[in-house]
């Protein structure tokens, strides 16, 4: 799971429009991203394992969040804003409220240029806001955000290793 997944970034695309899903998927694939496309916010959360996580929190669980996250290795989420039932903004908030998902960069897309909407999304933690139709030049802007989160991941792994060493030393002392 670990080494194979390192070679490609995995992007989760969320859009209720079939045409726009085809388009964003094609754009992402030509940039060598691995893509999963879903048509709603609730399907996105399900894919990310968020529903399951909520169930887990009801029982005492000593399973580290990191382990759970590795079941679904998503490096970036790109979502449409205008969707029925759950908007892209609602999805963004739910992701930022989740301990295990909040560090995944989120990008919002919209066909409407509404400054207050854009600001609200950026304030809630979205990395970028793309106007539709999304262009190759927009997708090219994604890589720095992905690399940033990869570096963070590696940093956390180092901490884990150090912690175990410390424990071992204490046990042996």
């Amino acid at each position: 799971m670990g080494l194979a997944a390192e070679s490609q970034f995995h992007v989760l695309a969320v859009d209720d429009s079939l045409i726009d899903r085809m388009l964003i998927e094609r754009l992402l694939k030509t940039s060598s991203f691995h893509v999963t496309a879903v048509d709603s916010g609730s399907k996105a959360l399900k894919f990310l394992g968020l529903v399951e996580e909520e169930q887990r929190n009801e029982e005492p669980s000593f399973v580290a969040q990191k382990t759970h996250n590795q079941d679904v290795d998503v490096n970036l989420i790109i979502t449409d804003y205008c969707m029925p039932e759950m908007t892209g903004y609602d999805l963004l908030r739910k992701i930022k409220e989740s301990k295990s998902l909040k560090d995944i960069p989120v990008v919002i897309m919209s066909s409407e240029n509404v400054p207050s909407r854009i600001n609200r999304c950026l304030e809630e933690g979205a990395e970028e806001f793309f106007l539709k139709p999304v262009q190759q030049s927009d997708v090219n802007k994604l890589r720095p955000h992905l690399l940033k989160s990869k570096v963070k991941e590696v940093g956390e792994e180092d901490q884990l290793i150090n912690l175990n060493r410390k424990d071992i030393n204490e046990i042996l002392a």
């Binding site: 429009s17 045409i19 694939k29 539709k132 139709p133 190759q136």
Partner: protein, 151 residues
């Protein structure tokens, strides 16, 4: 007709569609996304657009036929159509949708009905033009030639 003549015809037809505003640069962007790993990308997206168009035009017709008219519902369909037409580069369709949305906002039934008629016309014209384009492409490929891309 030989391959060279067909290719010239295709180039001219594409140029005309751009010039007359049936298509805009977004269509060229779609063509750029087509390659050996996805050789039918443009046709697939356009087919999807045709299906979407027919569904949405039908929904708009039904919504405008209700008494009283729910303009928010009509606007929702037009909003969707504006989005998908923008995504495939169907410029004239997209522009009519923009006008249509304004009439929905002001709840102008006559304006809405007129826009719906215009949309049906524009969609029909676009569909015929694109189908001709794809037919030319097929003929060129059958004759062993390559498809010239839009400039």
């Amino acid at each position: 007709m030989d391959v060279l003549q067909l290719q010239r015809k295709l180039r001219e037809h594409q140029a005309a569609m751009l010039r007359e505003g049936f298509l805009d640069d977004q269509f060229s962007q779609l063509q750029k996304l087509q390659d050996e790993s996805s050789p039918d990308f443009v046709i697939e997206v356009v087919k999807m657009f045709f299906d979407d168009s027919e569904k949405l035009l039908h929904n708009m017709t039904r919504a405008l036929g209700q008494v009283p008219v729910d303009f928010k519902q009509v606007d929702a369909h037009v909003h969707q159509y504006k989005g998908s037409s923008a995504s495939v580069g169907a410029a004239r369709v997209k522009n009519v949708c923009a006008t249509f949305r304004n009439f929905c906002e002001t709840q102008n039934l006559e304006g809405c009905v007129r826009c719906l008629q215009q949309l049906q016309q524009e969609y029909s014209l676009l569909k015929n033009n694109l189908q001709y384009l794809f037919r030319l492409q097929e003929e060129i490929q059958a004759a062993g030639g390559s498809i010239p891309t839009i400039e």
